[in-house]
């Protein structure tokens, strides 16, 4: 992000006044000329056949809603909870709900679905009672996912709760062996993807070596794989922020876990720093990881077949933006949008009448740009409350998408005449 020093002086810069249609006819022609279209809002149309990119979608109103909503915002893969993730006991799936889900899958064409299990499940629990409860609950998770023809069930590796990491990993391996064996007999197709974790508390799975050990202990199984979460691995200490460090981290993953075991990607930026072991997801490009590493991942030929899912905040408004951002990069688009902002009225003095250049993550909304603008100068905070805005000489809403090279204008209340 470029920072500009504003000086509160006023050279009446005529460049902002510009010139000046002498010819009224010309002004009319300008007005009638087809106006430059901002980037179209629809993203769901041209996703067929391209890299799998999607989001963890809400299921309120029915499980099938995750698919229909996902399709609306441009997902071609969707992750969901098949039940409330903070509760132990769940009723069986209703046949109607299953039918609606499979119908929505066929309607939307979103064939690849991923489930995330309950947060309560600890397949490494030291307490015999909790361990049993977890195994039973996890079997139910698998059953629901299998019924819904979901491809992978993502689970965390549990926590050792200070009762010994070694023993906990052994219990986890035992849980997985038992569960895979049991569900093999039932002919299940859904796989189990162990997620890399942030290393908060006594959680397991934040070192790649722990994942590698579990895979070795359980033994090679086609229904056992790994989910790599970029936020988690970054805060766990694996850097991704340059091509070299990204390659080194992936090489380390390959040597300890095996890249062929990678079945699901969770693409989240991180609010907290490298090695902080604090799990707070941030919008793509707005956190400590930044834009480039996500570009490395979605264009990495080794990972092309691995579905990428965002689990970022503000799902109702921001999932669409984050998905679009990733898809843009996966199709070769640059990670940034450079945008010029012209300030008018008394604000023009802040930038001496010159436009300000902002380097923003690609596929950013005007609303995000205003946050960055506010960070440049206190006077520019909250301008969204009383100013109007234009992009490429058209008035627009705060939800407008900004593309590389576009021109934003900040329009305070006017006083012509």
């Amino acid at each position: 992000m470029k920072r500009y020093n504003f000086r509160p002086s006023f050279p009446a810069d005529l460049r902002i006044y510009m010139l000046l249609a002498k010819d009224a006819q010309k002004a009319c022609e300008n007005y009638l000329a087809p106006t430059q279209q901002l980037q179209a809002g629809s993203t769901s149309a041209q996703t067929g056949g391209s890299r799998l990119i999607g989001a963890h979608m809400p299921t309120s109103g029915g499980l099938y809603r995750s698919l229909t909503l996902g399709a609306e915002i441009g997902c071609n893969v969707v992750q969901l909870f098949t039940c409330s993730p903070r509760q132990w006991n769940h009723p069986e799936l209703k046949a109607d709900d299953v039918q609606a889900f499979l119908h929505a899958r066929d309607d939307t064409g979103i064939d690849f679905t991923v489930a995330h299990d309950s947060y309560l499940i600890n397949l490494a629990a030291p307490s015999e009672e909790i361990l049993e409860k977890s195994r039973r609950a996890f079997l139910m998770e698998l059953k629901r996912a299998n019924t819904l023809q979901i491809k992978w069930l993502v689970t965390h590796m549990g926590a050792h709760l200070d009762q010994g990491e070694d023993e906990a990993l052994a219990r986890l391996a035992q849980s997985l062996r038992q569960i895979l064996e049991e569900t093999d007999k039932l002919g299940y197709t859904v796989g189990i993807a162990l997620e890399t974790t942030a290393g908060q508390g006594t959680g397991l799975g934040w070192r790649f070596e722990q994942l590698g050990r579990i895979l070795r202990d359980v033994g090679d199984h086609p229904r056992l794989g790994v989910c790599l979460d970029t936020c988690h691995v970054f805060v766990a200490g694996y850097d991704l922020r340059s091509r070299e460090r990204y390659d080194a981290s992936i090489a380390h993953f390959d040597s300890t876990v095996g890249i062929d075991k990678l079945k699901v990607l969770h693409l989240n930026d991180a609010k907290k720093g490298l090695g902080s072991r604090v799990d707070r997801h941030e919008h793509i490009g707005f956190g400590e990881i930044g834009m480039e590493p996500f570009g490395f991942i979605v264009t990495d030929p080794r990972l092309m077949h691995v579905p990428a899912i965002v689990e970022t905040p503000d799902s109702d408004t921001m999932h669409e933006v984050n998905v679009r951002r990733l898809r843009h990069m996966s199709e070769g688009g640059g990670p940034y949008a450079e945008v010029t902002v012209s300030l008018f009225g008394h604000y023009s003095e802040l930038s001496k009448g010159e436009p300000v250049t902002l380097k923003l993550p690609c596929c950013t909304t005007l609303k995000d740009a205003l946050v960055e603008l506010g960070a440049l100068n206190d006077e520019l905070k909250n301008i969204g409350d009383h100013c109007r805005f234009a992009v490429n000489d058209e008035f627009c809403e705060l939800t407008a998408q900004l593309v590389d090279g576009c021109a934003v204008a900040v329009i305070p209340p006017v006083s012509g005449g």
Partner: protein, 144 residues
């Protein structure tokens, strides 16, 4: 067909009127906004006008076409930018129409709408310094 001009030259009221004064029009109503020597209890020496030119042209054209749709009129609007001294015109709205009542109505509509929608701003300069006017607010300007 509306006539819109945004420029930094002195406005020629006669010329703007002539663009709407066809033989079919029995009335030409012209409003001239000019710089007065005081504002908000302070002396004014001159006003500097600033615009988002492309957008202002569009907005002026939009409101002129709106007036021409509502009334049987032809509209010409000129707005001046940059420094405008006391006594000089900053805006001229000229409306031609077969009859006077529509000309008056359309002229008033155009100048009233212009003042609240068109992205043009004034910076009033007087002996006490300069202030920006933004809607109903005035904001103290930095010094030259």
């Amino acid at each position: 067909m509306a006539f819109i001009i945004i420029c930094s030259d002195v406005l020629d009221t006669r010329q703007i009127e002539s663009s709407v004064s066809t033989h079919a029009n029995g009335a030409v109503c012209t409003f001239v906004g000019q710089i007065r020597n005081h504002s908000r209890g302070k002396d004014v020496e001159y006003i500097e006008y600033q615009a988002h030119v492309a957008l202002a042209e569009k907005e002026l054209n939009r409101l002129a076409v709106e007036a021409e749709t509502r009334w049987p009129v032809t509209v010409a609007i000129s707005h001046r930018l940059g420094r405008v001294n006391v006594g000089e015109a900053s805006v001229v709205v000229s409306v031609g129409s077969p009859h006077r009542s529509e000309a008056f109505a359309a002229c008033q509509y155009c100048i009233d709408t212009l003042k609240v929608t068109v992205p043009i701003w004034k910076r009033e300069v007087g002996p006490d310094g300069a202030i920006w006017i933004e809607g109903d607010e005035s904001v103290r300007a930095g010094t030259d």
